[in-house]
Symmetry: C2
Subunit: 275 residues, 2 copies
């Protein structure tokens, strides 16, 4: 099923980092994941996480990640500072700062840990959905980054041509299957990006565009490396909804499951919107 090796995948090129000193990496933003303003935020988030993943002092695996989009990310060079703020016996706290021309464009914190086997339980079951293969792939060309993902909507498609006020749109929920395109084996970096694929909830709720963009997102990784490997390069089911949209800011609460029903990621974000 895997149509490409990681090294040749656009996603791997986009998040690539070169060591440039103590706690310092360099990278480059090309236009392959370009969105409305700068690159798709999910790839920026994955790039920052990659700073901790690639760091020689890293221990354990990601448990949580918060990324703040402080200003537009421009095409071209950036520096990424990845600082292990505190390392305990089996846990580690990170500060992540992406700069362009000396100015912070993205900030973040991450928490890594070595897990042990414990009593475990999944409370939030995967919603019922037809298989990904039974649904058509959404084909849209407005933004470069769309090409790098495969979206199959179950419900809650943003489609402004349907007009405002359609009763089917009187909610903020989306249910969709998604994966990298071409398919790529799931890992923490790609899951980080996939957690940000939902369009701003205000688009869905009102079925029209408005200036909007994520200002902060937080991921909780429920899966370890082994579970991600089991998910392979198959589609993940994603569900997203808003709880309140108020005076320029809307939240989003979302979940991603592997196709066998394992909850891999709980993710929340707050997005700016203009009108």
């Amino acid at each position: 099923m895997t149509a490409s090796t990681p090294a040749s995948h656009a996603f791997d090129r986009a998040i690539a980092l070169t060591a440039a000193g103590a706690n310092l990496f360099k990278g480059n933003v090309d236009d392959s994941f370009q969105n409305m303003v700068g690159p798709f935020g999910g790839v920026t988030a994955a790039t920052l996480l990659n700073g901790a993943l690639q760091h020689p002092e890293r221990i354990g695996e990601p448990i949580s990640l918060t990324i703040n989009f402080a200003g537009p990310v421009q095409l071209g060079a950036f520096e990424l500072e990845a600082i292990p703020l505190r390392t305990n016996r089996s846990t580690q706290h990170w500060l992540l700062l992406q700069r362009q021309d000396g100015e912070v464009v993205t900030s973040g914190t991450a928490f890594f840990a070595t897990r042990r086997e414990t009593w475990s339980e999944q409370q939030h079951d995967m919603p019922t959905a037809p298989p990904a293969d039974s649904l058509p792939r959404l084909v849209r060309g407005e933004r470069n980054w769309f090409r790098n993902y495969d979206f199959r909507y179950v419900s809650g498609l943003f489609d402004p041509s349907r007009g405002d006020g359609n009763p089917e749109d009187a909610h903020s929920e989306t249910l969709l299957w998604t994966r990298d395109n071409p398919p790529r084996p799931l890992d923490f970096a790609s899951l980080t990006a996939l957690g940000d694929v939902f369009a701003p909830r205000i688009f869905h709720r009102r079925q029209r565009f408005t200036p909007a963009g994520t200002v902060s997102l937080t991921h909780y990784f429920h899966a370890d490396t082994e579970q991600l490997a089991r998910a392979g390069d198959r589609h993940l089911l994603g569900q997203a909804h808003a709880t309140r949209m108020h005076n320029n800011y809307s939240d989003q609460v979302a979940h991603l499951w592997s196709d066998d029903g394992q909850l891999l990621l709980t993710t929340t974000q707050v997005a700016y919107f203009k009108e």
Copy 2:
């Protein structure tokens, strides 16, 4: 209704900061909010937020806050660095670092903004609950910080004396009314602390203690100063649940409403648990 002025309230003493240089504050941890290990995390989170709130360069109001509990907070002195990482026209991104003896014990990021009036809608309605005044106040003395809060459980009380395996406990959800004790007018700092009052979900699910503690929390503030003022010093309704508990880590998704049904806070956290 207000039994004390803010200056004399234990909460205000606990989060108090003294300016100590550029981007630097000093403070002191006393035992008034002591929990199992160190102070109640909600007060630590409020203290870090207070660094941005008190900063002379601050603009706008809090929209999001992430706090990472990197190591045990000891009784005694601390330093808090509050750095405006990036200030745009109406938005501001903060880095918050609490240190004791030169070591980071808590880290955080915050996003502030000036809001304008926009199209707004609340998607997540307040659950039905009997009025706070009709429910008994929970009286427990195990931890100092309990004294500073008024809890009235609607459902999902953690009570180990009921034993494991009670069918009523086969979920991870809690619904409760809560406010400061004595009552104190709600503001961003106290709402920050109230967002962390839910006990670890693993306690509720299994109805027994296990070593557990929050490692990272994220708040999305839906309310502005005016809405917080309207909530006054009355109880807030809080609802919390977990989506997955797996190999040492559990998440929590929670919401807090004012008693007139306005969603004030969406909050998530990831907590460590041992067994």
